[in-house]
């Protein structure tokens, strides 16, 4: 219908006229641009003008920082939000990305990098500084570990193992094969397998390596030496 259908629209939101101008000049020709200087007009334009991307100055008056990003995104989910800030900061960057922003960078970004950032987020990828990524990974690892079972829960699980199963676990963690375990306990390999299946289920683990690691963890010399021991007697 009109040219905004063919040339995608980018919304630029900053209270600083000089910044709006610089960002507009950086992307002129590639996008049509609409500028806003405060929050209420940003929200209106976000909903009504259907921008493909929003370049948002985090210091926009009355924005409330990163906390507002999720609400803005809800106004128009397909819009890729790129946050630009006067003081890039790791924690804020992570919070911004978790809130749905697709990019986070210094608002003094060079024009060619700003064009590159828009290109990257348009492809569905993320634009962040390299230095932020290890912090993302640290947080991911910490959250993943939190979801794991507590030592108390593992102890409870160990309690459910029978003395026979415990014997098999120890032989296995010493490197014995099913055949060797069967031989030393004078049972069939099939029985060994059945016991192991029961052990895997009780401990909530999925294979021999995990089991061996589990034993390794629960019998390391640094800790109380008898993590697996006293429970059996």
């Amino acid at each position: 219908m009109d040219r905004t259908d063919t040339i995608p629209l980018v919304l630029i939101a900053s209270g600083v006229a000089g910044l709006r101008k610089r960002w507009r000049q950086a992307i002129q020709g590639l996008f049509t641009v609409h500028e806003v200087a405060e929050r209420s007009s940003l929200e209106r334009s976000m909903a009504n003008r259907r921008p493909v991307a929003l370049l948002l100055d985090l210091q926009l008056p009355e924005l409330d920082g990163v906390g507002r990003v999720a609400a803005l995104q809800r106004l128009r989910p397909p819009t890729k939000i790129v946050l630009l800030t006067s003081h890039p900061d790791e924690r804020e960057g992570i919070a911004a990305l978790k809130a749905g922003a697709r990019g986070y960078c210094d608002r003094e970004i060079a024009p060619d990098l700003l064009r590159k950032a828009l290109e990257v987020v348009q492809k569905g990828e993320i634009w962040v500084g390299r230095k932020l990524i290890p912090h993302l990974l640290e947080e991911l690892t910490a959250l993943t570990e939190q979801q794991k079972d507590s030592p108390a829960e593992l102890d409870r699980r160990l309690d459910r193992i029978t003395p026979r199963e415990r014997e098999i676990v120890h032989l296995l963690s010493a490197g014995a094969s099913n055949r060797e375990i069967a031989k030393s306990l004078t049972v069939t390999e099939r029985t060994v397998k059945a016991h192991l299946t029961a052990v895997f289920r009780k401990l909530g683990i999925s294979g021999r390596l995990q089991l061996a690691l589990f034993v390794l963890e629960h019998s390391r010399p640094a800790g109380p030496p008898a993590d697996m021991g006293p429970k059996s007697s």
Partner: protein, 151 residues
């Protein structure tokens, strides 16, 4: 110049040798050990405490990620760089969630290995840009579920 010590954990001899050959000419990098199995890798982490462990995601059948927390406890300073010849997939993301600091496709070792080792050793991450979005998606999901279970 401090030397970056490396353990190569890969079940394939040819692949271990290939990585070793790529790293040998580098003056600031020294391969101090190799591991052929998951338990080998844990033992090497504990005894050699390398700066970096190159860990093939196919080191053990099924899932290699349970190794990562154990390696970290045995040698907290060791940073793990995952290797795979299957391209980034859910295992890669699992590995990064369990403490690995980078990921390299085996087809790119020739051009990237020593650089990736130095970058990871310097405390940065080595992940393809395409994976960053997946990392954030998982992070956001875990944050939401974590909050829900606490409140």
């Amino acid at each position: 110049m401090p030397v970056i010590s490396i353990v190569i954990a890969d079940r394939g001899k040819a692949d271990r040798t290939a990585s070793r050959r790529l790293l040998e000419p580098e003056k600031d990098i020294r391969v101090v050990g190799e591991a052929r199995s998951g338990l080998d890798a844990v033992a090497a982490a504990e005894s050699l405490k390398p700066s970096i462990m190159l860990l093939d995601l196919s080191l053990v059948d099924g899932d290699s990620t349970p190794l990562l927390p154990v390696i970290r406890r045995k040698s907290p300073r060791t940073r793990v760089l995952l290797l795979s010849n299957r391209g980034p997939d859910s295992r890669t993301l699992d590995g990064l969630s369990h403490g690995a600091r980078g990921y390299l496709d085996k087809s790119t070792l020739g051009t990237c290995l020593s650089r990736a080792v130095r970058v990871v050793n310097a405390g940065e991450a080595w992940v393809p840009r395409k994976m960053v979005g997946k990392i954030i998606d998982r992070l956001a999901r875990l944050t939401v579920s974590g909050t829900a279970s606490c409140g």
